[in-house]
């Protein structure tokens, strides 16, 4: 990992088991709304993802959200999909993010518009996520755009990408991870983990390919709030696999106690993940339920987080 003044990168380099969370999607023009939601996660998460029209539904732009999140004293991870912008728009937003002090970017294709609230839209898909990872890397390392034209100075990013070990073709997933690392990815956030053995198999294969020293893998853990919510996720959110055993476990308890059961499930998964070699942190998310996220982070014993001040000191490390 090349030095980037990202605190997340510094924590990983120091060997901390990191915790990231997600800002729930914002539909308000009032900055106070974003500031408050970000502040709620402060002290529990080392960095917070700002999603990019998540689920192909329109929300506050990740660039604006990331800026406000850092105003709230929380380090943002700006997500960027290749669905909504062409290569010009993507590079402009990467540079814009850097100018606003955003140090972490997470690049992905994004859910198709058919999953969202504007299914009639035309998607961009001018370039793919693998190519954008390489472009971001080149912007940072060479200080040039894809065209070859130079920027006045190179932006500094910690470059992330996503992977879904739970989607076919399963054997291709580790190879695709290798390709993303080759393209320039430095950290990976995975799709939601419910099937720990499959994640374990994926990690072993990534280890065989020598990838675990080159990329920090941060699996995602969802906190289901109810059996209905979990079923919705399984059926409606592209790429999410939830084993029937998990659904049955939620359904076995009365509705009023399902949230508590969801927290128990998430805590168990976090604890199992910690034992897997190469897992460098967890990304804890829930659908519009910050309290659930905070509780899981607490009950999994992930507090206290390393002090924010530590970041400034370590950022100067080579």
């Amino acid at each position: 990992m090349r030095s980037a003044p990202s605190r997340l990168a510094a924590l990983l380099r120091q060997g901390h088991f990191v915790v990231t969370a997600e800002l729930s999607a914002i539909d308000s023009p009032d900055p106070a709304v974003t500031l408050n939601r970000a502040a709620a996660l402060r002290g529990h998460a080392d960095a917070v993802n700002c999603t990019d029209n998540t689920g192909a539904h329109v929300h506050l732009s990740p660039l604006a959200a990331a800026h406000l999140v850092s105003e709230a004293g929380v380090e943002p991870i700006m997500q960027l999909t290749t669905r909504d912008r062409n290569r010009l728009g993507l590079q402009a937003d990467l540079l814009g993010a850097a100018a606003l002090g955003v140090r972490n970017v997470l690049i992905m294709s994004g859910d198709d518009v058919s999953a969202g609230d504007h299914p009639e839209a035309r998607s961009s898909y001018d370039i793919d996520s693998m190519q954008l990872v390489r472009i971001a890397r080149t912007m940072r390392d060479q200080g040039t755009y894809l065209s070859g034209r130079r920027m006045e100075s190179a932006p500094s990013f910690f470059i992330g990408a996503v992977e879904n070990p739970f989607a076919p073709p399963y054997d291709f997933r580790p190879a695709r991870l290798a390709k993303k690392v080759e393209a320039g990815a430095e950290f990976i956030q995975t799709q939601l983990v419910f099937d720990v053995p499959r994640l374990d198999a994926f990690m072993r294969r990534a280890g065989d390919l020598g990838l675990l020293e080159r990329v920090a893998i941060i699996p995602s853990v969802a906190v289901p709030r109810s059996a209905r919510g979990a079923r919705f996720m399984k059926e409606k959110v592209p790429g999410v696999q939830i084993p029937d055993a998990v659904l049955r476990r939620l359904e076995a308890v009365p509705v009023a106690r399902q949230a508590a059961e969801g927290i128990r499930i998430a805590v168990e998964i976090v604890n199992q993940l910690r034992d897997i070699a190469g897992v460098r942190g967890v990304h804890v998310i829930a659908i519009r339920w910050d309290e659930g996220v905070l509780t899981v982070i607490e009950e999994a014993g992930l507090l206290p987080r390393p002090l924010a001040g530590a970041g400034a000191a370590v950022a100067a490390l080579p």
Binding site: D112, S123, S129, R137, S147, G148, P169, P238
Partner: protein, 132 residues
């Protein structure tokens, strides 16, 4: 804008298009990478992915966008395992599409080298160069 097509180009397209459409459901992107996709045309992917599947592939191997179709990249991976010569080409980082070539002949573009022209800032081995 698409680049103008010469008379020769048109003649070749008259052969290439029906043939490749019939065999691979070719979309005439003009920069063929079938060798790195197990002979499964990546331009059939609704996200135009040229470097592997997205995270939305369904458990049964169907496309996220069209549940009644197999994912182009599931087919690509299986296809690439069967290729004796181009197996490793699945690992190639394919550059961004040059949309000006849409509708032109990939055979001619291969012969002239037009399909290997990249934007100046596209670094094929960026990470490796940096590590060195």
């Amino acid at each position: 804008m698409n680049e103008p097509v010469s008379l020769l180009g048109r003649a070749v397209i008259a052969i290439e298009r029906p043939l490749k459409e019939a065999v691979w459901d070719c979309r005439m992107c003009g920069q063929c990478i079938l060798h790195s996709t197990g002979l499964s045309c990546p331009m059939r992917c609704p996200k135009n992915l040229r470097n592997g599947p997205c995270g939305g592939v369904r458990a049964d191997g169907a496309c996220e966008v069209f549940p009644d179709r197999p994912c182009v990249w599931v087919e690509a991976w299986e296809g690439s395992r069967r290729l004796p010569l181009w197996r490793d080409h699945a690992d190639h980082l394919n550059p961004p599409v040059d949309w000006r070539l849409q509708g032109s002949s990939s055979w001619i573009n291969l012969a002239t080298g037009r399909d290997r022209r990249r934007p100046r800032g596209w670094v094929s081995e960026a990470a490796d160069a940096q590590r060195a």
